[in-house]
């Protein structure tokens, strides 16, 4: 089971990185969303895989008995999901602003603050 899940995580990360290395901000956004999923999944599996034992205390009991899923990564990932969503929304709006103000979604062309040095025209 574990190797397959590890491969899934690997594929997700690879796709996310591939998309984020694009020069188009739109693809970067998609990659960013994908990376969120990949990272959440890998944090989650760091708590080890436990089947059919959610960290819920049984009715009438006051504490756990036996093996239970690790609640800590779950709490972390829950936070991460929400924050990731906020970040994605923010990045999307930034991309939009950039498009409206700069007329481009290609990151290399967003050069108002740091213009590239002028290239010398060839002599011919």
């Amino acid at each position: 089971m574990e190797p397959v899940l590890a491969i899934l995580i690997g594929v997700l990360v690879a796709v996310a990185v591939w998309l984020m290395l694009s020069r188009n901000f739109v693809r970067l956004l998609l990659g960013f969303a994908m990376l969120g999923n990949a990272v959440n999944l890998s944090i989650f599996v760091a708590g080890r895989l436990t089947r059919a034992a959610p960290p819920l205390i049984a009715d009438g009991a006051v504490a756990f008995e036996g093996a239970y899923a690790n609640p800590l990564p779950q709490a972390l990932v829950l936070t991460a999901i929400v924050i990731g969503f906020g970040l994605l929304a923010f990045a999307l709006v930034l991309a939009w602003q950039a498009h409206v103000r700069l007329g481009t979604v290609l990151t290399d062309e967003m050069r108002i603050a740091e213009p590239l040095p002028e290239k010398k025209e060839p002599a011919s």
Binding site: G10, L12, V13, V15, V17, A69, V100, L106, D108
Partner: protein
């Protein structure tokens, strides 16, 4: 008075007074100077009060433990040597304050000046009274910093700024070196306490790290005392007001280096390494300084180089392996302070009364200012070492040492007597130049001001100092003898040799050397006089050996060229290369660590593969790959596939016992997809780079490289995940939460208890972030219209509008409404159901899967659904309560208020409380304060999500308004409900 109070007052009083002076009004010249003078006199009195103890060989000591575990304490310690320096600092400080009162113009912000001066006095006193090495280094840096402020006091002039910066760069760098040095020294000894260090001489000298400590400490001392090759900052520091020069460059700042060398002399000197570093630096400095001083045209420049030369002399004495030389060094330090301070003050008076310091323009000032002329004459004579003045006696001691120190140290030092005579002759030359050039010759003409005697009180400090020079020169043993003895004994202890302070030792070799040097000096001056008068462009022979230019070149190279080069190599102005660098670094670091340490097989046996789940994951991977494939041309497909990935992750969460995560993931995935669909609509489909397209080959290479990086990153993460999953976890923090969730948090859903109770503060921070993000998104989109190239209506919408247009009786949008009638009715019916579901999730969250986040998302989805199917206007007409910013505010207040409420019960912030309440119908309901917190989270999540989505959705309303449509305007122009914070 107890030692502690005396010492603490000595160091603390100037700092307190500095703050008070700094708070005085800008024009309060008299008040500030009175304050400064009073403080200096009180400190002098305190120093004097300690005379009884130190004269008997006692030591005043006060210790305040600070971090005793680290051996760090504040130790103030005054022995005879520190006492002498403290006396110099406070005594000359008082004179300088009096002088400055008359020197400083009423136009200057004088209180600031005195504030800096007092703080400097405090730092200097702290330096000499430090009984702890680290503390000494601290005060050392403080003096550098305050001297920067003092030298740059007239910061409106470029010279002051440059001089101050140069002084700071050199002395503060030296201070860092010193700091490192004392750390090494402390490491060698095992204690930073000065008393312990001074008792560990043999340990230090025999330690292998001795050389390191020596070099670092000597570097600090040499930079501070303006020794070659760091001497060049001192002449530039002459841009300071003259009282500053008189104080810093005669008695205090530059003497700190000498002080340190003498302080550590008993434990660090006596080796060849010490003799060569300290002695050689002193020798070169003495000669070069004296030589350059001759050719200075600026009075203060001449004095600055002469100071450098005299400091070199003292350093040279400290470098010799002789106790007598040390005594001579201490003695000369005092003498130099007296005559150089008075000379600086005289130069200041001349500058003040004539308006210039250029020796070539000045002459015959003996006429208009005879009294000042005589004072300066005596002081300059002391500097030249004329008999019956203090400079003569220490010079004779120096000659004697130069003669006796030759053979035992090194045969090369046979040149020492010659060098001593040469330096002495040079000092005669520049002293003569100072006096003869300024006060004699034809009466002054063409000066900026008509010269006259200064105010009586301005001359008074000079008179005191000159009187001291004469007294010490005539009756050394009776005047200065006891004090010098106290200082020498404090440093040398029982090893103090016999020495005689007398004017006349009979006709001996040193006296002969003096006479020769004197005669040589006068001769050289007579030869050079005419050329000097005409003005020479810098000193001959070494004109091009300009240390300052080297320094500036080094600074430019370091701070500009090197920085630029580094930026060119390591920096990039493009996002993707940066990202690539970060990824490569992470991959190399991670994989490298795994490679070096090796990764063994895990101890857990992987579970057997469940075909259903495996298939699900294969689908997930396929979705991801498909998204990457489609991202370039089919963003819609890519977005849908992305949603597929999210669903697979969601099912994985369910499968592995994380129902809360699955709920949140599911709802967030829905909202994310809506968000992307709304947002991508306004971003261009494909955009070519407007600049020239890169060649096909380059593009392919780039993408191949990216593919390699992506594959490597994915491989590493897969490996990492696998390795983690196949190992038994260490002692889990989770046990802590599992055991306490119910007993202390009152909830059976541990994940929720962690979020709203144990780690409630994190969650509070998180919801603030979400709220801020939503508000920022809203602010960015308010008053914003989509870009012109994306406002064109999509084909489908055009079709619909044309259909409406074709039938004249219909409003715009009627067509769509008709088509969507069934889903529209269904979603309206679904709306209350979803709200109930959300309430259910919220209320049971503490005990069963659910909670504020997922409940909030469900409500947001319910409302968004109405928007999607019913349209913006229809929805906002009916949901006038929908004011997301208010929801965000309410949510934050509720959540934070729950935390604050704990204060009302005298408990720490965010302490939770719980019990169960029996409600009718609903039954037993847990009433934890965490529930209120969770409601806050819920309200905020609803508000924030809606705000973001609605802000995006309203763009289509705006976009439509700004569309130059070919179709005639709609009959009823779309009424934009600006319910969203009024701007939408």
């Amino acid at each position: 008075m107890p030692d502690g109070i005396v010492l603490a007052c000595l160091v603390g009083l100037p700092f307190v007074a500095a703050i008070v002076a700094g708070l005085l009004p800008t024009r309060a010249r008299d008040t500030a100077s009175m304050l400064a003078g009073a403080v200096a006199l009180v400190c002098l009195g305190l120093v004097w009060s300690a005379y009884g103890t130190v004269s008997g060989g006692g030591v005043l000591r006060a210790e305040l433990p600070w971090m005793p575990q680290l051996g760090l304490s504040i130790v103030l310690r005054m022995d005879g040597f520190a006492w002498l320096f403290a006396g110099l600092i406070t005594g000359i400080g008082a004179l300088v304050v009096l002088y400055a009162r008359y020197y400083m113009s009423a136009e200057d912000p004088v209180p600031r000046f005195f504030s800096f001066l007092l703080a400097f006095m405090g730092a200097m006193t702290g330096l000499v009274l430090s009984g702890h090495l680290v503390q000494l280094a601290l005060f050392w840096e403080l003096t550098s910093f305050l001297s920067f402020l003092l030298i740059g006091y007239w910061h409106h002039t470029a010279a002051a700024r440059d001089g101050a910066r140069m002084a700071l760069t050199i002395t503060a760098t030296g201070g860092l070196s010193l700091f490192a040095g004392v750390l090494v020294l402390g490491h060698i000894v095992g204690s930073y306490d000065l008393d312990v260090v001074l008792a560990a001489g043999d340990t230090i000298r025999d330690h292998p790290l001795y050389i390191v400590a020596l070099i670092l400490i000597v570097l600090g001392a040499l930079t501070k005392s303006a020794q070659f090759p760091f001497h060049f900052w001192l002449p530039h520091a002459m841009a300071a007001p003259t009282p500053v020069s008189a104080y810093l460059h005669s008695a205090t700042l530059v003497k700190a280096g000498v002080f340190l060398l003498a302080r550590l002399w008993p434990v660090m000197a006596g080796t060849d390494a010490w003799a060569w570093t300290v002695g050689l630096a002193g020798l070169i400095t003495m000669l070069i300084g004296a030589y350059i001083a001759i050719f200075q045209n600026d009075l203060k420049g001449l004095l600055a180089y002469s100071t450098i030369s005299h400091l070199g002399l003292i350093t040279l004495l400290l470098g010799l392996k002789s106790e007598l030389a040390l005594i001579a060094a201490i003695f000369h330090t005092m003498n130099h302070a007296a005559f150089k301070c008075s000379l600086f003050m005289a130069a200041g008076i001349i500058d003040h009364e004539t308006g210039t310091r250029d020796i070539r323009r000045l002459s015959g000032l003996n006429g208009p200012m005879p009294f000042t002329a005589r004072l300066a004459l005596v002081a300059a004579a002391a500097m030249a070492g004329v008999p019956l003045l203090n400079g003569f006696i220490s010079k004779e001691m120096f000659f004697a040492e130069a003669l006796s120190a030759t053979a035992p140290v090194h045969p090369l030092l046979n040149v020492l007597p010659l060098a001593a005579m040469l330096a002495s002759a040079f000092s005669v030359v520049y002293s003569l130049r100072f006096i003869h050039g300024v006060f004699f010759g034809s009466p002054p003409t063409d000066l900026p001001r008509t010269p006259h005697e200064p105010a009586t009180w301005m001359r008074f400090p000079v008179e005191i100092l000159v009187l001291t020079c004469i007294m010490v020169g005539v009756l050394p043993a009776a005047t200065v003898g006891p004090y010098l003895d106290i200082a020498a004994r404090a440093v040398l202890g029982d090893a103090t040799p016999y020495y005689s302070l007398a004017v006349w030792h009979g006709v001996n070799l040193p006296l002969l050397m003096s006479v020769v040097a004197m005669a040589a000096g006068v001769t050289i001056y007579l030869i050079l006089q005419r050329r000097l008068r005409e003005g020479m462009d810098g000193p001959p022979l070494i004109r091009h050996l300009d240390a300052q230019r080297l320094f500036e070149r080094a600074m430019v190279t370091l701070s500009w060229r090197l920085a630029r080069t580094l930026e060119r190599i390591a920096g990039t102005r493009r996002l993707q290369p940066q990202l690539r660098l970060i990824l490569i670094a992470a991959i190399v670091a991670g994989a490298g660590a795994a490679f070096v340490r090796g990764v063994g097989p895990g101890n857990l046996v992987p579970a057997p593969i469940d075909p259903v789940l495996a298939l699900l994951w294969v689908v997930g991977a396929a979705c991801a790959l498909g998204a990457a494939w489609q991202a370039k041309f089919h963003r819609l497909a890519a977005t849908i596939l992305l949603g597929g990935v999210g669903l697979v992750v969601c099912v994985t969460f369910v499968w592995f016992s994380a129902p809360d995560l699955a709920l949140t993931q599911l709802t967030v995935e829905i909202v994310t997809t809506v968000l992307l669909l709304l947002g991508l609509r306004w971003l261009p489909k494909r955009m070519q780079s407007s600049s020239a397209r890169e060649p096909e080959v380059l593009g392919r290479t780039r993408r191949l490289r990216d593919l390699a990086i992506a594959t490597a990153a994915g491989g590493c993460m897969a490996m990492l995940a696998y390795v983690v999953m196949t190992r038994t976890p260490p002692e889990l923090l989770a046990q802590h939460f599992l055991a306490r969730a119910y007993l202390e948090g009152g909830g059976t859903n541990v994940v929720n208890v962690i979020l709203v109770d144990f780690r409630g503060f994190d969650t509070l921070g998180e919801i603030f972030v979400v709220g801020v993000v939503a508000l920022t998104t809203f602010a960015l989109l308010r008053r914003f219209r989509p870009a012109a190239d994306s406002v064109e209506l999509p084909e489908q919408q055009r079709d619909q509008l044309e259909a409406d247009e074709a039938r004249h009786a219909r409003d715009d949008g009627r067509h769509v409404a008709d088509w969507l009638l069934v889903p529209f009715t269904l979603t309206r019916l679904l709306f209350p159901v979803m709200l109930v579901a959300a309430a259910f999730l919220l209320l049971r969250g503490h005990d069963l899967p659910g909670g504020g986040f997922s409940a909030g998302m469900v409500v947001a989805i319910a409302i968004i659904l109405q928007y999607i199917v019913g349209g913006t206007e229809w929805t906002e007409d009916r949901l006038s309560l929908l004011r997301p910013p208010a929801w965000i505010g309410t949510g934050l207040l509720l959540a934070a208020g729950t935390g604050v409420a704990a204060w009302a019960f005298g408990l720490p912030f965010m302490t939770s409380y719980f019990s169960y309440a029996d409600l009718p119908v609903l039954g037993k309901v847990p009433m934890a304060s965490a529930l209120i917190f969770d409601i806050g989270v819920f309200v905020l999540v609803v508000g924030a999500t809606l705000l973001m989505l609605i802000a995006l959705a309203h763009q289509s309303v705006r976009g439509r308004r700004s569309t130059p449509r070919t179709l005639p305007q709609a009959k009823a122009s779309p009424r934009v409900a600006d319910a969203v914070g009024g701007g939408g």
